[in-house]
Symmetry: D2
Subunit: 327 residues, 4 copies
């Protein structure tokens, strides 16, 4: 695994140490020198002797998990793929289909246009069949996971969706494991703040996937907020419909859509992020008012929104039961 | 002042102790026995000898501030008003014009229909002139204050508003000073939760006032969220317009509308609740996307959303400068 | 398991659902009616169909875990024991040897003096051999676990201990899952508070066990503090010694004492509670100054301080590897 | 005022804007360019037009407040003093009497040995008379303020103190307004951590002042802890006495010692930091056990522990009532 020193990297290690069918054999990160991962994360002390490497060659691998910043994953993925290693990339590098979109939102040209077309968007609830056969998975962003799972059922049903507003609230770990005034404790504690209104790089990702699921463009407005907690995303989605929808009808669409999904729980009551934190679940509740469906979708940004979903994808790719290591 | 033992009651005491033109002479609350307010709130120790009374008769007063639960204010207001005392009621009792609405949302008949017509909604930025001459002020709810200040400028301008979604996030003090599992620390800490989606009692209040300001009905969907912090409201308002609006045009409408307001700050950057906590300010930023204006409106729920606004109203009623005691 | 609806009850369920060698077959609690545990704790949705019973008879059990309030455990333990079921009691009912002490600190006579002598204090690091053969385990309190593990090594070595001050800081879940003004979010958030200085019921428990380990009385002063977080205990122990001790000598005593312990990590750097939260580990660091050894001991109050330790005891009692289900 | 962009700088501005007898005329800080202070702290928007300067010459001043890092204050103080401006230095630069101590603890030679002897330690409760006539005030550190106020009464009384352990817990603003992994939200949130055990630079400051008050050396062990909140210090002081002391006797010593102090509240119940946050008060409670007095002392680290105390000193220096601007 690459990028072991971030919050997502830690989650991957934590999950994999418990996974009965996977063996974690290699850790790498951009650090000064080879360091036991338990020194970087003391919480792992006594549980693993794995050493995080600076630039050692990996051993023979079945799969590589890249928990790297965008623009860095493309430096590692091509070589791994060409040597037959499956790749789950947790960065944004392979999520947008069109390299021009990537360049527009990430302010840099795409570094691996060759592999881009073969990347499969790793949202099992939407693309399970394709994930099964993929070599390269673009693991979804945290915000898109909550938003897409929250809105997708309405796109496939008989209803016509005119547009979607996603008002999302996230814990601070979403900002990464780097000191930054925006995430300095006394700055963000006891405070809620909207940011990047309509200009967040996860908006095109949500728009593209919702468009894929619907078969044509979907109007998406995405507004993220930072709230003072470690983990969790609560996305409140306002879906504008062509006709009024009874709440129970909407509920049944969701119930039916997710009946067999191991990690989506459609609930009658309204979930809080606490109900999903430290789990791979996405909890969803729906309400309606006239022509607006209101969907609340909660995940742990580091689990279902990142590391847990990556392992779920890995399980699918290797044909082991999807929940393995994730309950 | 009645209702001195709640969070709003405390804020009123705190502000009034500093107010150069007001003298706080009487405190009452539903407690077991007369108790110095500094015993109830140790933070007030050494600052006041005022005793909170159980059922003493108040002395001669110029104004009574009622920080009481709804249905309780109507038990005190009529007698005070009839003896010539001005009243600022911080409960919901006099906010809705139609007693039938009150009964619908508060599940009990209105207890003082006689005084209801004379109540003035105490939002200075909208009704300053009427507040000046009022005897009875219905001090706005915390959520409505943020939402109405956030949306009002668009109703008066040349734009046609089709509907408003208010996605609000509040700190836990909004839930009052009573033990309750929903606000038990380990239940709400590290968690975000939507609640009362479309069925919160502040929705009709927002709808009524926005309707007054526009001159006809406004479609309002209000979705509150509880976030793990003591104070602050961030309302993200999605205003659906008839035509696309340039961000700068929207900004100028707000700039102009609030240019002379001492407690509204229209900002280019996006405010966080931390920028307004412990102040009487409402900070507002606007963005736009096609036919949607996005407005972020932040207040301290206990100050501009309750006690501070009550003092602001009191200042207006007595002709002292509006900022007195509030900066 | 009895007492499934508290925070400790939840932790037991969570751990047991993952435990490969245990099957959780019965849940009971004082609730209004039989309720699926996943309704009580939505986080368990989709993971178990177990129903929490009001007063059903339990099936044939190998072991009963009692996560009950003190005075309630003694109502259940005797019958279970007499029918051959092993019992781990997580309440305080069987922790103090002398029923007179129990009555003094818990303000009520002891309800099961008959079984009290056979109870074994369930701190594996101190009493593993006796736990192996016990039928009744008194699972240690959260504060005592951190304090005793922190101080014990100094009692057995060549050093003479004159007295111990334990300055402990705990998260709010330690106060239980009941609404209470002391744990109302706006009351305890953003605040640190000492409480029950020298009069906390865990002080005699610490004193008794440290006395047992030393072979004579130990002077203990215990001062707990509430800090605004969900979980975790940090006990800073000031151990007064007869002679000055070099820091490295103290460190080596700890290293040696805990070398084979699977759940104690002696560290050179200073642990934070975050390093142990959601784990069964106790992280310890030592410093010294003249005749004072300073020991920092961190645990998760709900895991090593309650549910995790109970499972560790269960594992020992049934001869399965001690870490089973706990990593 | 110099150092306006830190948390203490902000507090000074906030307090001075309300101070009826002081006019804030000059702000300076190490920033890129002259910037309105309300841009640096949006919470000040609409309240002041003051511009924070990079290197402008100050106008004629009566007093300069230096909220600068240590080693920086000594670059500004000498020139100000020599031109007749009184100085309150909030850094550590003038707190330790012996420049060798300064060099030992701050790892750099002292930069203004000339003015050091004339500096008065600005703890009004201990040195009011000297502060009145001083030109240069060394404003106490936050930890020392709480610890010294907590322990001082026992040094002057008839009791003999053998030693003091100060176990202090502080909010994160104590770490300053600079991004740093130790104060990155997801690192320190939901966690308590001891640090710099016995090696914190405030220990010699506490030791020196307690020694001054007692007339001979006092043994001090200082152990600070970081807790997840913005503000507040709770110091639990364990004072070892020569003979056992009845709790009430200890209480009366404190009551008497602080009877006339406007900002010290001796309480029978145990204070929490929330009782003093945003105030200049120090709340103290005492307990005793045999030969140990336990003192809990709470302050707001940014107010009584920094900016508030600086203004209190300023008030004393200029002969205005000590509470002016601070209630």
């Amino acid at each position: 695994m690459w990028g072991a020193t971030g919050y997502t990297g830690y989650e991957l290690v934590r999950i994999l140490l418990r996974h009965p069918d996977a063996e974690l054999v290699f850790l790498a990160a951009k650090i000064d020198q080879d360091t036991p991962i338990a020194e970087i994360f003391p919480v792992l002390g006594g549980r693993t002797d794995l050493v995080c490497r600076v630039d050692a060659e990996p051993p023979q691998l079945d799969i590589a998990l890249l928990a790297l910043p965008h623009t860095v994953s493309v430096m590692f993925a091509p070589k791994l793929l060409s040597s037959g290693v499956k790749v789950v990339d947790l960065s944004a590098d392979y999520r947008l289909r069109d390299p021009a979109d990537y360049e527009k939102w990430y302010k840099t040209p795409h570094g691996d246009i060759g592999n881009l077309p073969s990347a499969v968007y790793g949202l099992p609830e939407a693309f399970r069949a394709r994930i099964k056969d993929a070599s390269l998975i673009a693991n979804p962003g945290c915000y898109p996971t909550a938003a897409i799972l929250g809105v997708a059922p309405l796109l496939g049903g008989g209803m016509k969706v005119n547009g979607v507003i996603v008002d999302a609230k996230t814990g601070v770990s979403g900002g990464g494991r780097n000191a930054n005034m925006a995430f300095h404790f006394p700055e963000c504690n006891e405070s809620v703040k909207a940011y990047k209104i309509g200009v967040h790089q996860h908006e095109p990702e949500i728009r593209e996937i919702l468009g894929d699921l619907r078969g044509c463009d979907v109007d998406v407005l995405f507004v993220p907020h930072l709230v003072p907690m470690d983990r969790g995303i609560c996305s409140t989605c306002y879906v504008s419909l062509d006709t009024a929808a009874a709440e129970n009808d909407v509920y049944e669409i969701y119930e039916k859509r997710y009946a067999d999904e191991p990690f989506v729980r459609v609930r009658r009551d309204i979930p809080s992020t606490k109900d999903v934190v430290e789990t791979n679940f996405c909890d969803i509740a729906v309400r309606s008012r006239d022509k607006t469906a209101i969907v609340v979708s909660c995940i742990d940004n580091l689990v279902k929104g990142a590391a847990g979903q990556a392992i779920q994808n890995m399980n699918i790719m290797f044909g082991v039961p999807e929940e393995t290591g994730l309950l």
